[in-house]
């Protein structure tokens, strides 16, 4: 059982100066095996901080990132699951389920991780799982009119089952929610 941290849209130091303290307390090294970052980390120091939490960090380029060498999208395999990662600024309309679904089908991903909207979402649509970890720092976003709450996601992957734990900072307290996703093996599909 692999613990994967999905985090993104930190915008450090341009919009926010740091992660919330309570989140930093939770993210201790040693427990998490892999980090997938959806982009807009923005800073070398923040990226190094992510590397101290887990050795294996996968990151994709967001529209405000300082590293042009990062890829725009990635696919990571965990056993039977294919996880696709994308920042999301390429998708128009922003955060639209159908457009994301097109991307997921293009990448042939069972789970698609995106960011950019700064809003947490976890939707199962057409047999695929779409997760948006939101913004870990609660940074300002042009698209989100409501209050942005800091959040990130921890996925517990066991075979073809994923249990998703959502950590949100609501009124100064960390709230945890759990969501489960099972990959459906569609035997009628021709590969």
């Amino acid at each position: 059982m692999v613990l994967v941290l999905v985090i993104g849209d930190l915008h450090v130091p341009y919009r926010v100066h740091d992660l919330p303290l309570k989140f930093k307390k939770l993210l201790v090294p040693g427990k998490i095996q892999q980090i997938i970052c959806t982009g807009n980390v923005c800073d070398k120091e923040t990226f190094d901080y992510l590397r101290t939490i887990a050795a294996d960090v996968h990151v994709v380029r967001g529209d405000y990132d300082e590293f042009p060498s990062w890829p725009l999208s990635k696919i990571i395999t965990h056993g039977p699951l294919r996880i696709g990662v994308l920042h999301g600024h390429q998708v128009i309309p922003v955060g639209d389920a159908e457009s994301l679904s097109i991307i997921a089908r293009q990448m042939d991903a069972d789970i698609l991780l995106t960011g950019h909207t700064h809003r947490f979402e976890a939707i199962e649509y057409e047999g695929k799982f779409f997760v948006n970890p939101g913004s870990a720092t609660g940074a300002y976003s042009g698209f989100c009119t409501e209050d942005i709450k800091p959040s990130f996601v921890l996925m517990d992957i066991q075979g073809s089952v994923v249990v998703t734990y959502v950590y949100r900072l609501v009124d100064g307290d960390v709230k945890v929610d759990k969501i489960e996703y099972r990959k459906n093996y569609d035997t009628s599909k021709v590969l």
């Binding site: 613990l3 892999q34 921890l154 759990k178």
Partner: protein
């Protein structure tokens, strides 16, 4: 006594026939018998060790019940303690609030992560246990009796061999493992044949043991229901070793055992995996000691002995029995593994080493002074001898023979000792046997000799140890206790190395003075008890100590003098016979 006689005696003591006439084992006599070595005939040693360490009760009628209870306890441990927190959550996930980053002490996830660090340590050590022996790399004996065996792959031929009856639906009933009604019908089908007992023994030569007439029953509760979580720790280790960031070298396990492609529940355990499981459960159940490197070396010979039992039942439940035997053994030597007791000379291993040096002083003062002069502290060599009970000094068959004597001399009389007095005698004898080389060589040579003990055949050292023990016990009977520090205070100072000139030494001196006082008081109290026993006074201490040397003499104060001299005579006669024969 020659070998055949002793073998007969063992068999008669351990036999479960005639339970009505002779149900209880005389522990004192049995210990005395074991002390000279347990015969290598299959089946005897396993039972003897279990009795000596207290796993099997002395009343033979209770054996079956106790064994069944203890084994089912072990299996429930395996079921409960090895479960992954995420698996439980999957079944029942709306109820718990736990999450992986939870660091509160009640969280299952927090436990999971702390356990992982213990597990990693255990795994590294166990993989390397006794690497010269192929035994540990081989698969565990599979048996329908053990819930730790995978559920399929039991051929009909094998079943018939066991049962003596032919039942076409056995395999079908076995498939419905969780249905206890089908198990019951399986059970009944075995015993439709009233002569199944004798059939069993005639079919398989291994089961044909004269004195074992325990009928081959499968207890419905602990039969074939396999435990699904038994391999979970190996999955965890695989994950831990399968480090994503390429920080470490890959694990030494061969690549064909990759866990992703195999069917977990039907995979067979290897022996070292069973050992790992035992150690992990022990560490979880005893957080005070946890796991310390060295426990794997102690568990190795125990598990090896139990797994090589000739009986079906013994082999199937080897892991469960080894766990309990190991726990009982650890209760004696636990102090060696607790780090906080390592600093003091009065507790833990420091105390034992000091005892050894004191005995050395009594028997071979020249050697003792020489070692002190070279500042050859006992920690440099005897630490390993004591903590892993000599497994690293001799070959496995010799170690097993030595352990027969060590377990047999389980003297619980002295409150300060942990019971393994013979071990101390033996280590003392080891020193005395290489006395000439030690006296001749320098510090470096001595260390080399003592860390790679040159005498590979322990027979000589064993005889020397017997003589030491005899002298010590005779001295005790005469009222002088070699171990008590009722000698002058200078004794403690002589023991500490001379050229140890930092402030720690000064502090040690003072603390040892205070402790020496304590010891002296305790030593005098003990002497008083001994003297009281000899004079037939009904001392309060005697009544409490039912299991020790004095208590076993039926609390009969008047007969004590007679009994003790009888014991001394018996012992010397036995020793003489052994020595001369």
């Amino acid at each position: 006594m020659d070998y055949k006689e002793r073998l007969l005696q063992f068999e008669s003591i351990l036999s479960t026939k005639n339970l009505a006439q002779d149900p209880t084992i005389d522990l004192y006599k049995f210990r005395h018998l074991c002390f000279l070595g347990i015969p290598d005939k299959p089946g005897i040693r396993q039972k003897s060790w279990k009795i000596l360490l207290g796993y099997l009760p002395l009343d033979k009628r209770k054996w079956k019940k106790v064994l069944a209870e203890q084994r089912s306890t072990y299996y429930s441990f395996v079921r409960d303690l090895l479960a992954d927190p995420n698996e439980e959550e999957l079944k029942d996930y709306r109820s718990s609030d736990d999450h992986p980053l939870n660091s509160s002490p009640t969280s299952k996830w927090a436990d999971y992560f702390t356990d992982n660090s213990i597990l990693e340590q255990i795994d590294k050590d166990v993989r390397r246990t006794l690497p010269d022996f192929a035994f540990f790399q081989q698969p565990v004996y599979q048996s329908p009796l053990s819930p730790l065996s995978p559920s399929i792959s039991i051929s009909e031929k094998y079943l018939n061999r066991l049962n003596g009856t032919r039942s076409p639906s056995i395999l079908e009933t076995l498939d419905n493992n969780d249905d206890s009604s089908s198990l019951k019908s399986y059970n009944d089908s075995i015993f439709t044949n009233p002569e199944s007992e004798s059939d069993v023994s005639s079919l398989d030569p291994q089961l044909n043991i004269k004195f074992q007439s325990i009928p081959f029953r499968i207890d419905v509760m602990t039969a074939v229901t396999p435990i699904t979580t038994r391999r979970s720790i190996f999955k965890r280790v695989q994950l831990l070793n399968n480090d994503f960031g390429n920080r470490r070298t890959p694990s030494p396990a061969p690549s064909y055992r990759s866990y992703e492609s195999r069917d977990y529940d039907n995979e067979v355990d290897l022996h070292w995996e069973a050992v790992e499981r035992i150690l992990f459960i022990y560490a979880k159940l005893n957080p005070g000691v946890g796991y310390v490197q060295g426990m794997n070396e102690i568990l190795g010979p125990i598990y090896y002995t139990m797994a090589n039992d000739c009986e079906e039942e013994g082999k199937a439940h080897a892991e469960a029995d080894s766990f309990f035997v190991f726990t009982l053994l650890m209760s004696h030597i636990r102090d060696y593994f607790v780090r906080s007791l390592d600093t003091d000379d009065m507790t833990g291993i420091g105390h034992t080493m000091k005892k050894m040096m004191r005995r050395l002083k009594t028997f071979e003062p020249e050697l003792c002074i020489d070692l002190e002069r070279k500042s050859l502290h006992p920690t440099y060599f005897s630490f390993r001898w004591f903590t892993v009970l000599l497994t690293q000094e001799f070959a496995l068959p010799d170690v097993i023979r030595l352990w027969d004597s060590i377990f047999a001399d389980n003297d619980e009389d002295d409150e300060l000792s942990n019971g393994f007095e013979f071990l101390v005698d033996f280590c003392c004898a080891m020193l005395i046997c290489v006395k000439d080389e030690l006296l001749r060589g320098s510090f470096a040579d001595n260390i080399k000799i003592l860390q790679n003990y040159p005498i590979q055949d322990p027979k000589m050292v064993l005889l020397k140890a017997y003589s030491l023990r005899e002298s010590r016990l005779l001295a005790k009977l005469n009222g002088e206790d070699i171990d008590s520090s009722s000698e002058s205070e200078g004794d403690d100072y002589d023991y500490l190395p001379y050229n140890y000139n930092n402030t720690d030494y000064v502090i040690q001196q003072h603390s040892s003075k205070l402790n020496a006082n304590d010891m002296r008081i305790k030593g005098l109290a003990m002497l008083r008890k001994l003297q009281g026993a000899m004079n037939g006074i009904n001392d309060k201490g005697l009544n409490e100590n039912k299991n020790g040397f004095f208590g076993s003499l039926n609390n009969n104060n008047d007969g004590i003098n007679v009994m003790m001299s009888e014991f001394a005579m018996k012992f010397t006669n036995a020793w003489k016979k052994n020595f001369i024969d």
